[in-house]
């Protein structure tokens, strides 16, 4: 029984993103930002979106991680034009626990025209039943 509890605990602590766990981020309290996309790096293990926000009149750059490039394109329907530099966006993310570091894991991007690009975290392990399911 303890083994089973431990296995479930391990899975909860593990990563849907596979590369690293989400334990760094406050997944219970998503944060919403508004800003301008400065750069998008279409690479792996994370496609990165850099968003500039204004906090108290000061420009602040957020580093927003998402899933690997092929998951966004093959699994979530993104293209390289989905989110482009210069666009005004609303970003929902799970922020890193130390708020002095502007770093988070993407939930979704909402564009000025209302179009939503989600970054589903359950893409990685499609088709495997975990304990407790």
């Amino acid at each position: 029984m303890r083994g089973a509890i431990c296995a479930v605990a391990l899975l909860l602590a593990s990563s849907a993103a596979a590369h690293h766990s989400l334990s760094l981020f406050e997944t219970g309290a998503p944060v919403t930002l508004q800003g301008v996309v400065k750069r998008v790096d279409w690479r792996s293990p994370h496609t990165l979106i850099f968003v500039e926000t204004q906090e108290g009149g000061v420009a602040t750059e957020w580093r927003v991680e998402t899933v690997p490039n092929s998951w966004l394109i093959n699994r979530a329907g993104w293209t390289i034009d989905s989110v482009k530099p210069g666009e005004q966006v609303t970003v929902e993310l799970y922020a890193y626990s130390d708020k002095t570091i502007k770093y988070g894991f993407l939930r979704r991007v909402i564009k000025a025209d209302g179009k939503v690009w989600a970054s589903p975290l359950d893409i990685g392990r499609r088709g495997q039943r975990e304990p407790g399911q």
């Binding site: 083994g3 590369h19 690293h20 490039n69 088709g127």
Partner: protein
């Protein structure tokens, strides 16, 4: 010159056509192409996580494992069977004496050496991350047996369920219409209470593979943010082992 060119062209044509000829040979399925992951094979029992079958020592390893040590922070890839369970496309190239499996996931390339073509077996010391893969065709299926893996801290699951040097993975691939289907059996008596199976299917796609293009700087970024002090006290590590989880320490 023309006398030489004729046979050379013929030989080149035969070499280029070899995969096609292979596919038409009796008992040899045509597996070549880029395959898009669909999911588990319908109608079968769901795939079970290897975590469920992990021995106590494997759970203990996972509980004590310090995430900053994860090889993926340095772009080090995963091996089978983990890569089979991950949701990426892959490509099979079929040749006379081998098959090449090229994965989007971490740009992994595996070579499957077909039996009967003189490729030597690995030596006593020849352990590698991806192991040594031997293949054969059996009843219109490709059967791959892979062993000689190095110890891998996430050789069975991303949750740090490791695999030992005794890991052995058998994969069977076959065609059903436009689909590619696979069943695998993974064994490791040091780590697993019993073998576990995965089954998945893929469909052909015309989309090219997307390079993983791992960026080591990005890959290692989160590592710098983990607070590692709590892992430095050996007594504390001891407290995290499963016999103490939810119980009373002696």
């Amino acid at each position: 010159m023309r006398r030489v060119a004729g046979p050379v062209v013929l030989i080149l044509a035969c070499i280029l056509a070899a995969p096609m000829l292979l596919a038409q040979a009796p008992g040899v399925p045509n597996l070549a192409g880029i395959w898009n992951r669909k999911g588990p094979i319908p109608g079968r029992p769901p795939n079970v996580s290897p975590v469920t079958l992990a021995r106590a020592r494997a759970i203990g390893f996972a509980a004590a494992f310090d995430e900053v040590l994860l090889p993926s922070y340095d772009c080090s890839p995963v091996s089978v069977p983990v890569i089979l369970n991950d949701n990426y496309n892959f490509q099979i190239t079929q040749m006379a004496d081998r098959l090449i499996f090229r994965y989007e996931k971490e740009d992994v390339v595996r070579t499957i050496w077909l039996e009967g073509h003189g490729h030597p077996d690995p030596g006593v010391y020849d352990y590698t991350l991806h192991g040594h893969s031997k293949g054969r065709f059996e009843n219109n299926q490709l059967v791959i047996e892979t062993s000689k893996f190095v110890f891998d801290p996430r050789g069975f699951h991303d949750s740090y369920i490791p695999s030992s040097t005794q890991k052995k993975v058998t994969e069977r691939y076959w065609r059903e219409g436009t689909l590619l289907r696979m069943e695998s059996v993974s064994e490791d008596p040091m780590i697993l209470k019993e073998p576990f199976r995965y089954h998945f299917e893929w469909e052909l796609t015309k989309n090219a593979l997307i390079a993983f293009d791992c960026n080591p700087e990005d890959s290692g970024f989160a590592r710098k943010l983990f607070e590692t002090k709590k892992y430095q006290d050996p007594d504390l590590i001891h407290m995290r082992l499963p016999q103490y989880v939810g119980g009373v320490a002696p």
